[in-house]
Symmetry: C3
Subunit: 299 residues, 3 copies
């Protein structure tokens, strides 16, 4: 089974290209302010899962068209009013409904490659919850405004944000962020630790993230990255369980071709050239995977 | 079944009144330094649960009488010596004993309304563990001293603090706070992120918290708040489980009267006027509730 | 069953002595840069477990010989190349392999006494994961460089670091630290909250940690410390479960001889002199312990 070419995926609301192992995904919506539409959600999930499956891709990097006035303004309100699946306003049942922002969030969070977002403009609603929280690394413009209008709209923070935010920064900050209903700056004490770097100029966000992506992708074994992410997301219930897991992982990796090459490169003081590929890796998953596709998916 | 009036609850160690949707609870103990007595614990639990059940209440705001020399000095030692239930020094068994500070903490943490504390004085022991940690938002006076005398008394940090503190600020800070046995300032690196705001003047703490309470209560749908708190406290074990939960929540809220009103108000650029009430909400709980009342409550 | 004397443990790669209730363990490896060898791991586990069992020991304090050019340079690469159990490069199977750094980490994390590390030099690999993360308190020299070469070696962060780091500082910081493959300083925003104190001079790290160890050991009841650590590490799944646990703990401690002495000392404004001993304590564990020794240990 071979992968389709990137340009045959039928994506229209984002642009995508691969450059030295980095899949660059650019929000370039036909809607003003890059608002999140149903089609944008589908496009993102498709291209992100393509990046997960493609061994040429080592890093996924999401940003927005720098000409757009916003990084992403959240759910497209015109579409919402017309009855889109967004915000639960479509003719599906409570059991059938699957939040589109959460679908995108899971495709990012569960991705086995390194994921980076370069937030080069204002972000609202799902432009924060779905398009920032699930990434491994977040870069942002210091002037970006973060707005979460959920409680004011009579709905609630979605896109798995109640799960992710507590894990990422602790429940004290997560509660302040999600309940305070306020305009926030990246440098605020509650938000700042979410960001790997906060850049003073809007134009510097993407270059900084790209440069970091290049650095990180040339020196890290892709399969090692996927193991580390797997263990961070599914560390086991206790330190003993984690010890059993990382011991097995270490044994597999230490005895792998990558492990051999890593050690050689280290002794020879040169950059490593790792042969193992993520698509060939069969250890995953050690946790019980959950298929959320069925209307009767059990809670 | 109608609610009793606030003044018929028989509370004596705290004062309570409702003002524009905000239940203001003031520690005004007959004991010096507002020390935590058995009766204060009962009064607090009663009035806090009353606030949870009353749809007129959108925010609970706890503070201390500004004339008191302390916010709360912890367990009342005179009562402890006489054999109070406090600190486990009463004639009950290990199975029967229920820590009074923990009873208060659970009534705050499990409250479906927004909870805020304005710490306008020094705090010791349960004045920190029971009366600060379980709140959604903490405001404090910069000059307040936090003292945890548990290990020095041969007992241990109670009031569910070993659960709450790690979740709120991570285990590194939680361990430093609970084991270091030291006098702490709100601005110390380990404590500061617990506080939504740290005010230089003692007299400014309550007004700042009240102003925040008003802002937050007028713009947030109460049922949306209760859903968000429920998901933050019970997010599910995995991102997939959270996705199933917040998808259902979004569908319910998007299709609700609040959701309709929130969207209308947004389009008409006016403040929303939410009709749905927390007491009418039937979704809760999706987690397995635990009744701690029985001596044989299983662990 | 009496404890063996410290000097009969057969330890060679570390020095150890007890001084006013503090077990001081000093890395003094025969390998350059204090690199982590199989024998060093065994020595550390042995002496740390000895400290756990010995009632004279109230605090364990790890540091490195100040004359060593590094605190610990991570796995000894010469030994790795020759086929040590380190990094999974020995003739054991995936089921049998037990990461040596993780063995040390568990002996520290599960220790019932207060554990402190004084990092007085550079640290790499297991010099960070195994020898810093599992401690209750970390002191470090501001000039120390932290390097994590795992992904570059084609292996992965071990020593239960994927479990510990997320719990200690949240997943946002943990991901940045473990995936970024960069040289880090203790004062960097991602690392700083790991450290109880960051000292400008290398020579000041151990004295500061020792002084803290003395302060903390004289005023804290050892059994109270062990209960607090147990509850921080195994807080229960919900606030209700934690309430049942800390209520029982409080009842036991409040009714104990330590509780009596703590109260008396408090009323008499003197230092307490706690009679209860950790080795006599029988409440532990309330969680399901896991023996990781068997090759077929279930995950």
């Amino acid at each position: 089974m071979s992968l389709p070419e990137l340009h045959t995926l039928g994506i229209t609301e984002v642009a995508a290209s691969v450059e030295s192992g980095i899949l660059i995904i650019t929000l370039r919506s036909s809607r003003k302010m890059n608002s999140f539409t149903e089609k944008m959600g589908l496009d993102l999930t498709r291209v992100i899962q393509w990046g997960d499956a493609n061994d040429q891709v080592r890093v996924l990097l999401l940003t927005a068209d720098p000409k757009s006035p916003a990084f992403c303004a959240g759910a497209d309100m015109e579409e919402v009013i017309k009855g889109s699946v967004l915000l639960g306003r479509k003719e599906d049942t409570e059991d059938e409904h699957r939040d589109p922002g959460g679908q995108v969030a899971m495709s990012i969070y569960n991705n086995r490659k390194i994921t980076i977002v370069a937030v080069n403009g204002h972000a609202s609603g799902s432009g924060f919850t779905s398009l920032q929280l699930p990434f491994d690394f977040r870069f942002i413009w210091a002037g970006a405004q973060i707005t979460l209008p959920f409680l004011r709209l009579g709905i609630l923070p979605e896109s798995t944000s109640t799960y992710l935010l507590s894990r990422l920064v602790g429940q004290s900050r997560a509660t302040s962020i999600l309940l305070s209903n306020a305009k926030m700056q990246p440098s605020s004490p509650n938000l700042s630790i979410l960001y790997h770097d906060i850049l003073p100029n809007k134009e510097d966000v993407f270059p900084a993230a790209l440069s970091f992506a290049k650095m990180i992708s040339t020196n890290s074994a892709p399969v090692s990255v996927s193991y580390t992410k797997g263990l961070l997301h599914h560390p086991g219930q206790t330190i003993e369980e984690n010890h059993l897991l990382d011991s097995r992982a270490m044994k597999r990796r230490g005895a792998s071709k990558d492990g051999e090459e890593g050690l050689k490169a280290f002794m020879q003081r040169r950059s490593p050239n790792f042969p193992d590929t993520v698509s060939n890796e069969t250890w995953y998953p050690w946790w019980k995977p959950r298929d959320v596709g069925h209307p009767k998916a059990k809670l």
